[in-house]
Symmetry: D2
């Protein structure tokens, strides 16, 4: 894949209003892979004072979106299953990684994990996309 | 269940920093049930200009948290499976409902749906909780 | 849909080697819907003497396959999430129902439930199919 | 863990009526881990002539049951999410592996994969158990 296109896609995925509101940053990005980061703030907490499940999910969903659209073909999330394992600490920095498990012409499967800065596993997720198949930058990719 | 306790719980669940940041409001609440609402804002959009999956999930997760903690016993989400069906419009108001499907001493199962203001189904989710079993207000409930 | 085609499809789906081996019978069938039945036998039990999860899943999967292929277009299961709620009794007769929640040109979503003959909920499942789009009998359907 | 107890558990898990009916054999077994095998037979096929989803699920569920009960504490499957990736060939031998991802006093999370004899990924599954906490052989384990 053209490195310029990879750079252009990374820039596009970094410019995400919802991710920005939550403080989610795209750290690593390559075809089929993405790593994002979020430092836990008070605004991420729920009524019990723990990190909200929605904040954790949003982080991993951002990695999922970047990885599944990394081939410059529009992908739409259709099914996701999440298992929450450990509750993160309030002062944690969380990292989510998305890896491509399978990719066919119309479907894709991605594995996401969220870990804290000490490597503790916060949650796991498998996510399925349906690939609409239109390149969204230039003439397209894979 | 004591109506005063229901009112107290509703107040507590409404006071959720993450839900407030996203504009999520608790509209209806009773033991085993919750309905929440979120008007889509530009800050909920992703890099494609669609409503971010994390925003939709956060909405349903808020209904889930309220319904699963409605008996005044701490519940922790352990597994959630989501199916995304229709993409909401940018100017939509979204409604999420959570209903109790099953509750035992240590486990619970909840069904969540998200619909727009015209009733179109945006997504479905089944969520499992593990019930820690400590009342968090007063002497506790069911 | 032509009633003769519905009858032909029902006959085809009833002629399933794996379902036969397990004693699964197709009881009701119409476009987007199927109901199947299995009387628990000793051969369905696991090493603890309970009904094997695989036997329960196979029952609901048979309903899923019939309902999702009921439009005479090949559908392939891609994602399923199951929640087990109550363990069935050894002498139970189990019923699984599959209902169409959503259907687009290429995707479908189905809701499955398994109940015993007293109506107790044994498990719930959401299942996604990818629709290959080839009619498998005659000129095809919806 | 006492090697004699491991051996006794392996023997017990091998003596599973449903797994025997389907030709599923327990090949490897250790605390938190199990590998099982099934040679595809005509009796595993569905009405299309492909391997039935229920047969594939039963295989991985058998690995899951062995791994999650490997500590000699009763575990009950509560949530499973499966992603089907490639359809196995009719003459394939299928292998399912279950690995422990997390284990607490009352909960456990396991990752299952099914592969054919050439290593092609047939499906992936995450499974959650609730641990009842009673040893079923002697005085019990971890």
């Amino acid at each position: 894949m053209d490195p310029n296109l990879v750079e252009e896609l990374k820039k596009m995925f970094s410019n995400d209003p919802f991710a920005k509101q939550l403080g989610i940053e795209l750290i690593e990005f390559s075809p089929g892979y993405a790593k994002v980061r979020m430092k836990v703030e008070n605004s991420h907490l729920n009524f019990f004072g723990f990190v909200h499940g929605g904040a954790i999910f949003s982080l991993l969903d951002q990695a999922f979106a970047a990885a599944s659209n990394s081939h410059n073909y529009s992908s739409v999330a259709i099914s996701m299953s999440v298992n929450f394992i450990n509750a993160p600490k309030k002062e944690a920095t969380l990292w989510a990684e998305a890896k491509e498990v399978d990719k066919s012409r119309k479907l894709g499967l991605y594995e996401m994990t969220v870990r804290d800065d000490e490597g503790a596993l916060i949650c796991r997720c498998d996510g399925r996309v349906y690939r609409i198949g239109k390149p969204f930058i230039g003439d397209g990719g894979a």
